[in-house]
């Protein structure tokens, strides 16, 4: 615990440098920060007393209710990248922001209708439990862990770099210390408080973010007497692109990219390990179901708010010299649209509140990611692939805590390493990998009788490889980062191609698998399916 106190000292001393736009310390932001960190660390302390077993570390004992989990899922999902990024995209080009919002949302019916209940009924701590239910533990766990870890690490880098930049701009902290504060707090939440602390950090953050965004949208619309007609017509008048902001713009230029991005967003959500992991925190399939409805409602509502906030920024920020630099662009960058808007409609107090909320958002998301990554290392790789199920729970918890610290340090290190890089493609790549590797092996293991270990391993790793390769050869990395003239692979989004590779690979190598193992795996399908549909045989939650 004394390390924690040391860290807190560092944190508060840094806070003294927190500034408003005009260089004065923003006391609202400082008070909000201190409150948030204080409350969450207290929760972590409380949670640490309840976190002794592997089950409590990974799943908070399975006692989280549907509403709590719904809030926590939306907390996991509404990252600072989506709050600031989507409102920034709306600010920049209007309608296009909706394409991302809807893409992020459409994954949820898929998760609910096809995955949530079987996942809860078959798994214990991670989605690899489900995939390896009837397949061979070792190879499948390693594949699933590779899929999880690459998704988690890419996502973590994107969040870390975004966090560092954001805190740098908001509070004038040096980039390094911003990244280190985020890393330090996230390691404390997860190592000491496990899933219970992480869940409550998510819930508090979700409530803060939803109320902050609601307040902003309300204040914006209030200025137009809630008349959307007037609101949009003012935006069209002010924006340099005029009427074009009401229609699709340059985000998607050809049908292949449209479908490919659509697939990545839709099925990627259903393959994000930190989201899937949340379904093991509820006691049964009924609560799992409920949590998705709450989550979808909150997230959908949130995206409508970000859209209004983006348009609000067009109307109230883009023509106010206070928020623009000499060349007429937003101070910071377009992702600061929501932050500037908070100042425009609510002064320093709302600016402080929204900045603190953005910070809380980053912390909550990186904590969830780290926990999912740590469970891939300790539960899948260590306990089940290398110890092959010889149960040593104490060691497993120890390894998971070490893995948390390792991932936290790695995230800080990579965050600093990638400071000057364009990391926007990393979230896209994370979604592509989730859609290409995690989702197919998960869905086929639940619903396709003929899936065998050989098929899953060959198809899944081929897809993973192709997804990464196509991103490297595509315009974002090959042209924008490596500086070549022309991309070898012409599309930004690889999911359409890599998903086909995975599914065809899995189908072919499962169908042609005549080994003894494969026959046994197919025979186990019926009983697995029975359990996935009825929940007969699942673990009971911890007693209070």
């Amino acid at each position: 615990m004394h390390k924690l106190i040391l860290l807190l000292g560092l944190f508060f001393s840094n806070l003294l440098f927190a500034n408003t736009a005009d260089g004065e310390p923003n006391y609202t932001a400082i008070i909000m920060f201190v409150l948030f960190v204080g409350v969450t660390l207290f929760i972590t302390y409380w949670a640490s007393k309840k976190t002794h077993t592997a089950k409590s570390f990974y799943t908070a004992g399975g006692n989280i209710t549907g509403l709590q989990n719904g809030l926590a899922i939306s907390g996991d999902f509404m990252s600072a990248a989506s709050f600031l990024g989507i409102s920034g995209l709306v600010y920049l080009s209007g309608f296009d922001g909706l394409i991302y919002s809807i893409g992020f949302l459409i994954g949820w019916p898929i998760i609910l209708l096809l995955i949530a209940e079987p996942l809860r009924n078959l798994g214990k701590y991670s989605f690899s439990d489900v995939v390896s239910f009837r397949l061979k533990q070792k190879p499948i766990r390693i594949l699933a862990a590779c899929g999880s870890l690459s998704t988690v690490i890419l996502y973590l880098i994107a969040q870390m770099v975004g966090a560092g930049k954001l805190i740098e701009i908001l509070f004038g902290l040096p980039y390094y210390s911003a990244v280190m504060i985020v890393g330090g707090l996230m390691i404390s939440y997860v190592t000491f408080g496990g899933m219970l602390a992480t869940t409550w950090v998510q819930i508090i953050k979700a409530v803060l973010l939803l109320s902050g965004a609601t307040l902003m949208a309300f204040l914006v619309l209030y200025q137009f007497e809630f008349d959307f007609n007037q609101f949009f017509s003012k935006a069209v008048n002010v924006h340099s692109k005029g009427e074009n902001i009401m229609a699709p713009g340059g985000l998607i230029s050809d049908p292949v990219s449209a479908i490919s991005l659509g697939l990545a967003l839709m099925f990627g959500t259903a393959g994000l390990p930190h989201i899937l992991m949340r379904f093991f925190t509820v006691p049964d399939a009924v609560e799992a179901r409920k949590s998705v409805v709450y989550a979808t409602g909150f997230i959908g509502y949130f995206y409508i708010l970000t859209f209004i906030i983006g348009f609000g920024a067009i109307v109230l920020v883009s023509n106010n010299p206070e928020y623009l630099n000499d060349s007429g662009a937003l101070i910071g960058n377009n992702n600061m649209a929501a932050i500037h808007l908070s100042h425009a409609v609510g002064g320093d107090i709302l600016l402080g509140f929204i900045s603190a909320v953005a910070f809380a958002t980053i912390l909550a998301v990186v904590s969830g990611l780290t926990l999912a990554g740590a469970s891939a290392i300790s539960h899948d790789l260590y306990a089940n692939a290398f110890l092959t199920g010889k149960n040593n729970e104490k060691m497993e918890i120890k390894v998971s805590k070490l893995a948390t610290i390792f991932l936290g340090v790695l995230a800080v290190f990579l965050g600093i390493l990638f400071e000057e890089q364009n990391v926007a493609f990393m979230v896209g790549l994370a979604f592509a990998i989730a859609a290409t590797t995690n989702f197919p092996i998960l869905i086929l293991s639940i619903y396709w009788k003929n899936l065998t270990t050989r098929g899953a391993v060959i198809g899944g790793s081929a897809g993973l490889f192709i997804a990464i390769l196509l991103v490297i050869l595509g315009p974002v990395v090959w042209v924008d980062i490596f500086g070549n003239n022309e991309a070898i692979f012409p599309y930004k989004y690889p999911a359409l191609f890599s998903m086909v590779v995975t599914f065809v690979g899995i189908w072919f190598f499962s169908k042609t698998d005549k080994s003894k193992n494969s026959t046994a795996e197919k025979e186990l399908f019926e009983s697995q399916y029975f359990r996935s549909q009825t929940g007969v045989g699942i673990d009971k939650p911890n007693a209070h």
Partner: protein, 95 residues
């Protein structure tokens, strides 16, 4: 006797689930990909303003799609709790 009862209920459960899931999933996927399709092939259509308002068809349909996605999840949970859950409870009690 109990095993046979369980088998029958399980069969009912599987059929009922398919009847609920297939229409809902088709509704969600087709409306989403129609939306993407228009963006890819007929982006101008989404820019048309509705009657004499300043709201474009694209923005209106986009908001509607968000609502539809939520309603799909709500409908599923309503039907699952009403139709599937009693069957699942019966099987669990037999086991």
């Amino acid at each position: 006797m109990q095993i046979r009862a369980t088998k029958e209920i399980y069969q009912q459960l599987k059929e009922a689930r398919i009847k609920i899931i297939i229409p809902l999933i088709l509704l969600a996927i087709t409306s989403y990909f129609s939306f993407i399709w228009v963006i890819a092939f007929k982006p101008i259509f989404f820019g048309i303003l509705i009657f004499d308002t300043n709201v474009s068809i694209g923005i209106f349909l986009g908001f509607l799609l968000i609502l539809l996605i939520f309603l799909v999840t709500l409908t599923y949970v309503y039907l699952a709790n009403k139709i599937l859950e009693p069957l699942i409870k019966k099987i669990q009690n037999n086991a």
